[in-house]
């Protein structure tokens, strides 16, 4: 039977984070071989972060295999044979782990923001549509693709299965923290995953952690906190993302206003019209996107060519801190006017960007902080919410950190050959 079919010999992928990724199930091997999964090789895990941390060239393909491997270890080595674990859910967990990021597009964050896309919807469309992935999943059973989609969308009835892929301590986060730390070369993201896996226990509604593993979990939470602020929200990465976003806005604007491109945006047309179909979406990866950016450096439109040159050659925007108070807003309005007077279009060259993260939170009954807390399994069998036991976690629980920055092209302002006085005034306002 296909669902239980094993490969004649185990296949292994060398992996710098988990050493080896082991594949025995024929279904998993077949899914990895589909064109939709192979496409993930051409989508970077961290988008524009490689412009800050040059090692961060790893792909969603690497990460997806990593999440699969973590879930495989949990279900095969830790959960197997335990009372709350239903062995029939094993293959579902593995498939959902492997495919959870399938719908990510190129530079997802920016594309989703500009075109109001949702990669989760594309994940669902790939799993349920006329695709190679769907054909593999349907061989398991007719309803299997739907179940996989439900786990990824968090609407599957078995919450334990969902929590393995999506909770405050899940395989997705564990892999990306370790992997992103490895590839960026930073020392913050490390924690003892082996220890966490050993102390995980299945319960009816979610995975819980044995009390003896609390310190490993503390380390994981702190790693997450550090990674968000040191890597994911790095201001230089955000500058590259701001420029990328503006390239997409400009290209769309030009296309819709009838501009004649030297390199027409063939792959983006349905995106610009707001009716992108799955087939077109799957054609769009980062190699294709960067090809256009490379070509658009030579477009006649001064804004598009400048933004593309900035992105391709890493001539990014500089930034100052910004707080959205009424005083700062007034200053922003004044800056907008001055940018226009200086001949610098503020729609593309004066940008407020915000980042925010909540490292850990717990659910408060009756209200809407919809986060499944991490529960510790006490020696007497009782469950205790993590922040009630851990002073360190308690200190950061529910504490959101937000950061706003104002981005602009410093080189334009430094060029005093034109509009000298206005540019001086702009700089004065920015740095006062």
């Amino acid at each position: 039977m296909y669902p239980n079919e094993k490969l004649s010999e185990e296949k292994v992928f060398k992996d710098p984070v988990h050493r080896y990724v082991h594949v025995r199930d024929k279904v998993i091997w077949d899914l990895i071989g589909t064109k939709e999964f192979q496409r993930l090789r051409r989508i970077k895990q961290l988008g524009t972060t490689y412009l800050t941390f040059h090692g961060a060239e790893h792909s969603r393909f690497n990460h997806s295999l990593g999440v699969y491997e973590i879930v495989r270890r949990i279900v095969d080595d830790v959960f197997a044979g335990r009372p709350d674990w239903d062995e029939n859910e094993r293959l579902l967990c593995l498939c959902a782990a492997l495919l959870h990021d399938l719908g990510h597009g190129p530079f997802s964050h920016s594309f989703e923001k500009v075109f109001h896309l949702n990669h989760e919807q594309f994940t669902r469309a790939i799993i349920l549509g006329d695709t190679e992935v769907n054909a593999v999943l349907r061989r398991v059973s007719l309803h299997f693709p739907k179940k996989v989609a439900e786990v990824i969308e968090k609407t599957y009835e078995n919450k334990l299965v969902v929590s393995l892929i999506s909770s405050q301590i899940d395989a997705d986060r564990m892999d990306y923290l370790l992997r992103d730390a490895y590839y960026t070369g930073v020392s913050y993201g490390h924690f003892d995953m082996e220890r966490i896996l050993r102390v995980m226990r299945p319960r009816e509604e979610q995975v819980v952690i044995k009390r003896s593993g609390m310190h490993a979990v503390e380390d994981y939470i702190m790693s997450r906190y550090q990674m968000y602020w040191q890597v994911y929200f790095h201001p230089v990465t955000r500058s590259a993302e701001v420029i990328l976003t503006k390239i997409l806005h400009r290209a769309k604007h030009l296309y819709l206003s009838g501009y004649t491109f030297q390199t027409p945006p063939v792959h983006f047309q349905s995106l610009f019209h707001g009716n992108m179909q799955l087939e077109d979406y799957l054609q769009l990866d980062e190699a294709v996107t960067l090809y256009y950016f490379q070509q658009w450096q030579y477009e006649r439109d001064a804004i598009l060519s400048d933004l593309c040159r900035r992105f391709m050659n890493r001539h990014l925007f500089k930034y100052v801190e910004f707080q959205p108070t009424n005083e700062e807003m007034k200053k922003l309005m004044e800056l907008t006017t001055l940018f226009k007077k200086a001949g610098i279009d503020p729609d593309y060259y004066l940008v407020v960007d915000s980042s925010s993260d909540l490292p850990y939170d717990f659910y408060r009954p009756g209200e809407e902080e919809e986060r499944l807390p991490i529960y510790l399994l006490m020696p007497n069998g009782e469950l205790r919410e993590l922040s009630r036991e851990s002073t360190i976690v308690d200190a950061i629980s529910g504490k959101r950190r937000t950061d706003h920055k104002l981005y602009f092209p410093q080189d334009f302002l430094d060029d005093l050959s034109t509009k000298r006085n206005i540019k001086k005034k702009i700089k004065q306002l920015l740095y006062e």
Binding site: K154, P324, N326, L332, V352, L358, G366, E370, R400, T402
Partner: protein, 170 residues
């Protein structure tokens, strides 16, 4: 710039006050499903569609003093009451945000209970499924809420009504 923040202030300006974070989340989700221009990403959580992005936007607006959040004890738990502050009103003057159709929709939503909005938003979340499948989802995922067939029918009627209003006015 900060346009999405301003939109949230506009929501509060339109309805006066919103009681409960759950209610606020569901109102925005439903308005988004009615094709009003909200771009926060929603996932399915405990109480149905939920947006982390929206949560932090509201927190932030409270932190800078544009929204007031009042914590009130209600039975065994706390609930939160949101209103626009004077500073928020002033901030809003920097933006041109005239959306009368949205105001009508939001006022109607604000008159409903959080429980009902949870049901409406859950139905909308699964709207691509058949009605029977949606009911099955509601009965499985919202088991503890014990929604009745009548409530589900009522929710469908309400969605229809919202759509008609949104359609006629757009």
């Amino acid at each position: 710039m900060l346009f999405e923040h301003a939109k949230m202030l506009k929501v509060l300006a339109a309805v006066g006050e919103i009681v409960g974070r759950k209610k606020l989340q569901k109102m925005i989700y439903i308005a988004k499903k009615m094709k009003f221009p909200f771009y926060e990403k929603f996932d399915f959580h405990f109480y149905g569609p939920y947006s982390e992005e929206l949560t932090w936007r509201i927190e932030e607006l409270c932190n800078v003093g544009f929204l007031q959040e009042m914590k009130e004890k209600k039975g065994g738990y706390y609930q939160y009451r949101y209103t626009l502050t004077e500073a928020g009103e002033q901030f809003l003057t920097h933006y041109q945000l005239d959306m009368p159709d949205l105001d009508v929709c939001l006022r109607s939503l604000n008159e409903q209970s959080a429980r009902f909005l949870e049901l409406v938003s859950t139905i909308l979340y699964f709207e691509e499924l058949s009605k029977d499948e949606v009911k099955e989802k509601v009965f499985t995922l919202k088991r503890k809420k014990r929604y009745t067939e009548e409530e589900i029918e009522e929710a469908y009627r309400y969605i229809e009504q919202l759509r008609e209003q949104a359609y006629i006015k757009s």
